[in-house]
Amino acid sequence: MKKTPEMEKLDNFLRSSRIVAGGFMGEDIRDVDEVIVADTRSVERLGYSLEQVAARMHEITHIAKEGLGVCVDVGAGLKGCVDEAKGRIVCPWPHPASFDKRLTTVTDVESGKEITWSDLHIHLIEEHGFFEGIGSAMRIEPVKLITIIF
């Protein structure tokens, strides 16, 4: 289907470096909608919903935050470390939403597998089903994420 001017504008914005270095799409040539549909399917194929994934991310970040930068046990054999900078980062979608610049790194103590997300990522997944394009410096691979956090 032909893109509306709004979709075109969002696509261009996500590919620009106005909010994050290198943009949110990386080298991905697919439309944003296609990226969202494909990643949502990956999540559903593993038996989860976007809401469940985001809720678990919220839960882990909430516990890890208490460590004030020191890594803490977040349960289920996982270790969580939070790294924060002052200032807010805004959602690239055209609506008012801004987040602390907070990164949560979760490690599966037994396997050593590790994944990092920002508070913005949780919102992007929860509200927009967006895990970022392939090649984006901070794309989250849905399968890897789910394997670690559940």
């Binding site: 289907m1 620009s16 470096s17 930068g69 790294d83 002052k86 200032g87 805004v90 801004s98």
Partner: protein, 366 residues
């Protein structure tokens, strides 16, 4: 199926054409001519109508804080529009309290200048200026924190209050990059008006910090504007507790220099937290203030010291150290600088120690 597809295509095409017509008419047909922006009934500037109020002000070197590049999504660019701003837009209301709406506060990036317009800007913002700064030194403080020293070009001088911050304009340094502003607290002595020192921590994949750590070299010229912010010492004689971690050292170092310059006799204690001993920095320099100031105590705290580091000071989270070391702080004022989590956790501890909420100060954009 085909009919549905064609209908969707037709409807979205009509929508697209209408939106395009609107944009074109705004661009080519609507000519608002030259409009006057009246600022605080003191200064009038003439601008080309049709642009956002924020762009008009920036063109005139009047700097209003902004973190979203004028997209109406950060809410930082508020100012009072007394007359001529048109109707409040739905994009603005989520950022404005009922009181602010009653007081005619608007988001300047959303207000279009289509006619003469009367606005009010806080006096402090009018004194914000842009400075050309030449990098004169870069020092490693920890594995991910550096001290950046800048001299102001020519014989320029910056007047700021200890605790305020500047905005650094990150130049384009990678393909497809864009200029962005980031806030940094001034770490240097306010009496040294020809220089600015910043303490910056590297943020993974961060636009500005990656530039500073990997691209900025001694001799390079960059632009900063400022000063901004309400974070500074009150003019009371109350005892004070400073709590900071990491690059939060910056404004506290500046405030201590200011206390020395002004011969302050206020009682003060400074808790500086780090995860490891190797993440502490400027310890000797800050310890020296214990000798130079009347009643100052410096308490570095390490959360998880390695036994090999032979740490003999306080251990645990900085908030735990404050709680056990300070006991009763009901008559204290608190100055916090660090991550949002640290500020939140410190707030809770200080409340327990009896510090009134109104006496706990930190940058509101933190």
């Amino acid at each position: 199926m085909v009919t549905v597809f064609i209908s969707v295509l037709v409807i979205s095409s009509i929508g697209g054409v209408l939106a395009l017509l609107l944009v074109l008419s705004e661009k080519f047909i609507a000519n608002y001519g030259i409009c006057t922006v009246d600022i605080n009934a003191e200064k009038q500037i003439e601008v080309q109508g049709g642009q956002s109020l924020l762009s008009c002000l920036v063109e005139e070197d009047i700097f209003i804080p902004s973190a979203c590049g004028g997209r109406g999504t950060c809410g930082y660019c508020k100012l009072k529009v007394i007359e001529g701003g048109g109707l409040l837009l739905p994009t603005e209301t989520p950022f404005l309290s009922d009181q602010e709406q009653k007081d005619d506060i608007r988001l300047s990036c959303q207000v279009k200048v289509r006619n003469d317009i009367f606005i009010e800007i806080e006096k402090e913002l009018l004194s914000v200026r842009q400075y050309e700064c030449i990098c004169s030194g870069i020092e490693d403080l920890t594995h991910d924190i550096k001290l950046f020293k800048f001299g102001l070009a020519g014989s320029e001088e910056i007047d700021f209050i200890a605790g305020q911050y500047v905005q650094l304009l990150t130049p384009v340094y990678f393909k497809g990059g864009e200029e962005v502003y980031r806030a940094y607290s001034v770490a240097s002595d306010p009496l040294n008006k020809g220089a600015i020192e910043l303490i910056i921590r590297l943020v993974p994949n961060g636009i500005c910090t990656t530039y500073c750590f990997e691209h900025l070299s001694i001799g390079d010229t960059i632009l900063m504007n400022g000063p901004y912010g309400e974070f500074h010492l009150s003019d009371t004689e109350s005892p004070m507790v400073f709590i900071a971690g990491g690059s939060g050292m910056a404004p506290i170092r500046c405030i201590l220099s200011h206390m020395l310059n002004t011969g302050s006799k206020r009682k003060a204690v400074y808790y500086f937290g780090a995860n490891k001993v190797s993440e502490l920095f400027m310890i000797d320099e800050i310890k020296q203030f214990e000798n130079d100031l009347d009643d100052f105590r410096f308490v570095p705290v390490v959360a998880l010291p390695d036994p090999a580091e032979h740490w003999t000071g306080l251990t645990g989270l900085v908030t735990e150290a404050v709680e056990s070391d300070l006991e009763n702080a009901a008559d204290y004022e608190a100055y916090l600088c660090g991550s949002p989590g640290m500020i939140e956790a410190s707030g809770k501890v200080l409340a327990k120690l009896g510090v009134p909420e109104g006496k706990i100060y930190f940058d509101s954009f933190a």
